[in-house]
Amino acid sequence: MPHAGRSARREGPTLESVHVALLELQDFRSYRAAEITFDPGISVLRGRNGEGKTNLAEAIGYLAAQNSHRVATDAPLVRHGAARAILRGGVVRADRRALLEIEINPGKANRARLNRSPLPRARELLGILRTVLFAPEDLALVKGDPGERRRFLDELLTARAPRFAGVRADYDRVLKQRNALLKSAAAHRRPPGAEMLATLEVWDTHLAKAGAELLAARLDLTAALRPLAAKAYAAVAQPGGDAPDAADAVDAVETVETVDGASPGTDGTGATGPWIADLTYRSSLEGVELSTDRGKLADALREGMERARRQELDRGVSLVGPHRDELSLTLAGLPTRGYASQGESWSFALALRLAAFELLRADGDDPVLILDDVFAELDAGRRRRLAGLVAPAEQVIITAAVPDDVPVELSGAAYDVAGGAVTRVR
C-alpha cells in the first residue's frame, strides 16, 4: 500500500486528499467515447505518439481549469464532425464523491453540472478539482514571451481563488473597450477633442480599478511563489545531491527565512550557485513603488496612463497595465532569456510548476499532478529528481510514449492507449 504510506508521512490535519477516480470523454478530441477509472497514487498512460495520451491529460486539466494547455480556443477540443464535447470527472475528496460534467460548446457558453444538477455558470465548477499540469509546452514559460508567464500567474490565481476568472475577464473587457477608443482616435490622425479625452479618462478609471485588483493579486502571488520556486529549482537542478521532498523543501525555506529574514537568491550569504533561481514581478509602471494596496495601485495606474497619454494616442493601444507586465526569471542574477541553457530552462519551468503545486497544497488540498510527456524532455538526473519530488503527491497521472523514460520511482498502475481506447494493464 504505497499510497497509505505516502499520506501518513506528511499530512497535516488540514490537508484534504483529492483524486480523480473516473474520467469520461464524449466527442473530445480523437475520442468518440472513452471511460477510464483511476486509483490514488501513480497512473501511467502509455502509447505511441498520436494515440491520444495527451488528450486525456488535457481533459483532466480542462475539468479543473476550463482551459486547455495546448490551445487558446475550444473548437479543436471537439471531435471533428461533432457539435459538442462532453467531459465527466468523478472526483473523490476526503471520501466524498463529486461528479463534474462540462459540455464544451465552441463559440457558445459551456454548460456545467455538478452531481447532475445544472449550474448557472460553468465557472462555478472551478476549484472543485485542482490540477498542476507539466507539459512539453512549459518550456515556453521560460523561453517564451511575457504573455506565457502572465498566463501562468493568472491561471494559478484562478486555481487558488476562482473569482479571479471574473476579475481577469472584467479587465480584458475594459482593455478591449479602451483599445477600441484609442484605435479610433489614432485613426483620425488629428489632436483628440475634449470629449474624446473625457471619455478616455472614464476608461482610465475603469482600467485602473480592474487593473489594480489583478496587479495586487499578482504581486501577492509572486511574493508567495518566490521562495518555493527557488527551493524547487535547487531540488531539480542541483546535481548530485539527493532531491529533498518538496514538502520538506517548504519547511527548509521557512527555516531560512526565520533565520535571516531574506529569501534565497537575494540574501547574498554565499547562496550564489548557478541554481539560485529568482522571480521578480516587473510592472509597466516603471519607477513606481508597488504596494499591494489596491487604492494606491489604482492611483498609480491612472497616473501612469496620464503620462503615457500621448504615446497611447499615437499608437492606438493601451501601454500601461497588468497586460504589459512581466514576471522576470533570473538564475544567479542573470536573466534566463538569453543566458540559461536548455537544461536550466527546463529546470526552471519544472520549478515554477512545482512551486505552484506547493502553493496550492498549502491552501489545504492536494492538487492532482499531471505529467504530460515531460520525461522525454529531461536528462536522467532531472528525471530522477523530478520523480522524487512528485512521487509523494496524492495522485500523479503520467503520459509517456516510451515507458522506459518514466523513472522506476514512478511505477504504478499502467494503461495502454491505442486506437481510441484505453485499457488498464496493471
Binding site: 473587457r173 473625457a198 471619455t199 472614464v202
Partner: protein, 199 residues
C-alpha cells in the same frame, strides 16, 4: 427552403432580436394558420408603431405626441431626473411606482467597440435640461455592466461640477434570494455598497 413568400417571412422574423431560425419558422407557420383578422390586427399594429410613435423631444422616451406621458404629467417632481439607457428601462422603473421624478433616455451606453461615443447618446439634450437650475438630483440608472458603469462615470464627471447631486442605483443582492446563491461579483458589490443599519 420554402416557397418564396413564406421564406421571406421567415427571413424577416429571423432578423428580430432573440428570434433564431427555428423560432422564426414556428412563428411563420403560426401566422399562416392564424385567423386573418388576428394577422391584420398585427400588421396594423406594426404599421401604427412606425407611423405614430415618436420620441419625446424632452426625454427621448417613446411618445405618441411631442412629449411623452411622464414629461406631460404635471404631478411629477421636476427636480429629479433619472437617466436610463433605453425606453424599456423607463417601463421597468415605472412599474416600481417608487420614482416620482422625470426621465432621460440616452439611447444606449458608451461602447467604443460598437463605435458608440458620448456624442452618439442624448447627452447634449440632458445638459440643456440641467442648465436652468431646476434639477437638484440626477439618478444614474444605466445598466450595471461595464458599458453602463462607464457611461455613469462619464456623466457623473460632467455633471458634478454643476453642483447637482449625482446618485447611482445600488447594486447588490436580489430581494427574497438566498445569500449562498449570489455569484461572487454580486456579493462583492453588495459588500462594497453595505450601509449602516438604523435601529
Amino acid at each position: 427552403m420554402y416557397e418564396g413568400v413564406v421564406q421571406n417571412l421567415i427571413d424577416e422574423l429571423g432578423r428580430l432580436p432573440g428570434v433564431g431560425p427555428k423560432s422564426a419558422q414556428r412563428i411563420a407557420f403560426h401566422l399562416l394558420a392564424a385567423d386573418p383578422a388576428d394577422v391584420s390586427r398585427l400588421t396594423e399594429a406594426l404599421k401604427e408603431v412606425k407611423d405614430k410613435v415618436r420620441f419625446c423631444r424632452t426625454c427621448g422616451n417613446v411618445a405618441e405626441a411631442e412629449e411623452c406621458r411622464v414629461c406631460r404629467d404635471a404631478r411629477r417632481d421636476p427636480h429629479v431626473i433619472c437617466v436610463v439607457e433605453e425606453p424599456k428601462d423607463v417601463v421597468a422603473i415605472e412599474k416600481t411606482r417608487e420614482f416620482r421624478g422625470r426621465y432621460h433616455v440616452l439611447g444606449g451606453a458608451i461602447s467604443p467597440i460598437e463605435g458608440v461615443g458620448p456624442e452618439d447618446l442624448r447627452i447634449k439634450e440632458l445638459m440643456t435640461r440641467l442648465a436652468d437650475g431646476t434639477i437638484t438630483e440626477l439618478i444614474l440608472a444605466t445598466d450595471p455592466n461595464l458599458e453602463g458603469e462607464a457611461t455613469a462615470t462619464y456623466l457623473a464627471r460632467l455633471v458634478k461640477p454643476m453642483g447637482i447631486t449625482v446618485t447611482r442605483l445600488a447594486s447588490g443582492l436580489p430581494v427574497g434570494g438566498d445569500l449562498e446563491y449570489a455569484d461572487e461579483v454580486t456579493l462583492g458589490r453588495a459588500f462594497e455598497g453595505r450601509r449602516l443599519l438604523d435601529v
